[in-house]
């Protein structure tokens, strides 16, 4: 029998080592291949986004254009915001802001005195704010930051808002209208980097403070020029594409956060090329891609006509624990819930802001028509185009023109509101909102502006 009598070519130990290496390297190679596959998908996602000229870096970080021009409003906004008295006098549970929103009407006069004292202490800031209002906003000063944009600017909103309220109480319609313009124009720096989740929520707050009082402002009888200025300031802020733009910004925020958020261990691991980072990276990337895909669906949704763009399916809130609620360990369902819920809130805030602005614009147009026509009201909003309105505004909640109704003692320009039902414009503001200072806790049945036909001239 022919049997090979040659000795083995290598030692058995080396053979065992080779087999062991093969066994160990196989899962590593498979994991690396998975990592590579997900990286290529992520790169494709980023390429697709950039090919559409959409951002992959959140505008929250790069706060829009910058300019050092001496005629740039930013320098005055910056300085005015720095001069506003910070701290407990305004904010906090005993602060003026909180008490104005919650105190009973009986305390109105006492609060008004406090308000006047506060405004007096902030007169310098108000002077600079007035200068800023008159100048074009060309961009932020170099070095100005995130906290300036959303914290200090909001103090300025309070200055203008308090002044508008105080002047209305004093019967000075012209100055009240000017204060409303100052307040509205702070929207320019607030939204300079494009609409984002945060700027929309903050700016929605600005509008919800200034515009519900528009009926009172119109009734107080400011001049036609003053009303025109308010109209111009409102139209400057009307952005029909705000939901789409903010959703694009939100997607960029999530993409940027993946790389930049140092609050999470994986972001710190990334710098040290740690083993954990290597192990979880493909999973995280997969989750990030899913996030990008969901956001792209939502962006497509935001491009639909009104009111379809407001409609989004939000899955029931999934239960979470400390581990699973930490990005990137969110399950697909949790990611879906978070992003879709955020979209719905944002869309709702945009729609509310647009409604407040558009109904206020139309109500002012009616007032100006009435004044020019010797007291006669227009039969429809179409009569106001083009002299007082560029077009009849569209109600985001219905996709149709905003409603206009008149009775013996008042006229109302209104939207059906979030419930999309025509309640006749009988109640367009929360009763607790009568002063224009309080924020509504419960939305009224319809949204808009109600104006008494025989305003009492002061």
């Amino acid at each position: 029998v022919a049997v090979s009598d040659r000795p083995p070519r290598v030692r058995p130990g080396f053979r065992r080592l080779a087999i062991g290496a093969f066994i160990v390297l196989t899962p590593i190679a498979l994991h690396t291949a998975w990592d590579h596959y997900e990286a290529r998908r992520l790169a494709q996602l980023v390429t697709d986004i950039r090919s559409r000229n959409e951002p992959v870096v959140s505008p929250l970080a790069g706060i829009g254009p910058r300019s050092q021009s001496s005629q740039n409003a930013a320098r005055y906004y910056e300085a005015a915001a720095a001069l506003v008295e910070p701290g407990a006098a305004l904010y906090g549970p005993t602060g003026l802001l909180h008490r104005m929103e919650t105190a009973p009407v009986a305390d109105r006069s006492r609060l008004l005195e406090e308000l006047r004292a506060w405004l007096e202490r902030n007169r310098e800031a108000e002077t600079l704010l007035t200068r800023a209002t008159e100048l074009p906003f060309e961009g932020y000063l170099p070095g100005t930051d995130y906290s300036f944009r959303f914290d200090r600017l909001y103090r300025l909103v309070n200055v203008a808002n308090f002044r508008a309220f105080e002047r209305l109480e004093a019967g000075d319609a012209e100055a009240a209208a000017d204060a409303v313009v100052r307040q509205l124009r702070i929207g320019r720096p607030l939204t300079a980097g494009g609409p984002t989740n945060l700027s929309i929520l903050n700016f929605s707050g600005v509008l919800s403070r200034s515009l519900p009082a528009m009926g009172g402002l119109i009734e107080s009888g400011p001049s036609d020029v003053a009303l025109q200025r308010v109209q111009t300031a409102i139209r400057e802020l009307d952005n029909d594409a705000a939901i789409e733009q903010s959703t694009i910004a939100e997607r960029a925020f999530w993409l940027g956060r993946h790389w930049d958020d140092r609050r999470h261990w994986y972001a710190r691991q990334r710098d040290g090329s740690g083993l954990e980072w290597y192990l979880v990276r493909p999973y995280m990337t997969r989750r990030l891609i899913a996030t990008g895909q969901i956001m792209s669906e939502l962006i497509a949704n935001a491009r639909r006509p009104w009111p379809e763009r407001l409609e989004v399916d939000v899955p029931p809130q999934p239960s979470t624990n400390r581990v699973t609620s930490a990005f990137p360990f969110l399950s697909r369902v949790q990611v879906e819930y978070t992003l879709r819920h955020s979209y719905r809130s944002r869309a709702s805030a945009v729609a509310n802001s647009l409604v407040l602005g558009r109904t206020a614009d139309a109500a002012i147009a009616v007032a100006r028509y009435q004044r020019a026509a010797g007291g006669a009201l227009p039969r429809s909003l179409g009569d106001l185009v083009p002299a007082y309105l560029t077009a009849v505004p569209i109600d985001p909640f219905t996709g149709r023109e905003v409603r206009y109704s008149r009775s013996a003692d008042r006229y109302v320009v209104y939207s059906f509101g979030p419930d999309k039902k025509d309640d006749g414009g009988v109640q367009v503001t929360d009763p607790a909102w009568a002063s224009g200072m309080r924020r509504s806790r419960n939305p009224p049945p319809d949204l808009g502006v109600s104006v008494r036909i025989q305003p009492k001239r002061r």
Binding site: V1, A2, V3, S4, R6, P8, R9, A18, I19, A21, F22, L25, T26, I28, A29, T32, A33, D35, H36, A39, R40, L42, A43, V46, R50, V56, V57, A61, G62, Q68, R75, Y76, E78, A79, A80, L83, P86, E124, T127, L128, L141, G143, T144, D145, Y146, S147, D151, N197, L198, L201, G205, A252, F253, G256, H258, W259, D260, R281, S342, S345
Partner: protein
């Protein structure tokens, strides 16, 4: 019993030749036990893993460069502002106030970015 008869009897029970698969049973395992295919496979896996890792890192670096936000300035704006704002009296007051606020902020704590959705209202 004669030798011839004995041989005849043995021939009935003794195989005339080794079974056909005997050679395979003896020689093939020696071929299978060769080390080099394992070593080559392990080396190929190692090379593939390294190459993929390098390529993957390159992709991630490219994506990261595209998607990383620029650093956010959070404090000490006063020198630039002083230059940018000019010599308006009110603006100078504002600069002083701003510088003081920023100094206090730096001393108190590091300014941190709020999470999405937080509001300062």
């Amino acid at each position: 019993m004669f030798d011839r008869e004995l041989n005849e009897l043995l021939r009935r029970y003794r195989p005339a030749a080794p079974p056909p698969d005997l050679r395979d049973r003896i020689t093939v395992p020696i071929a299978v036990r060769r080390t080099w295919p394992w070593a080559v496979a392990a080396a190929a896996l190692l090379l593939a893993a390294c190459a993929l890792q390098v390529a993957t890192d390159r992709i991630y670096r490219t994506v990261e460069r595209a998607a990383t936000p620029p650093p956010v300035t959070t404090a000490d704006q006063s020198p630039e502002l002083r230059e940018a704002l000019g010599d308006d009296e009110l603006l100078l007051i504002a600069i002083e106030r701003l510088a003081r606020v920023e100094r206090e902020q730096r001393e108190a704590s590091e300014v941190s970015m709020p999470a999405t959705g937080e509001s300062w209202q």
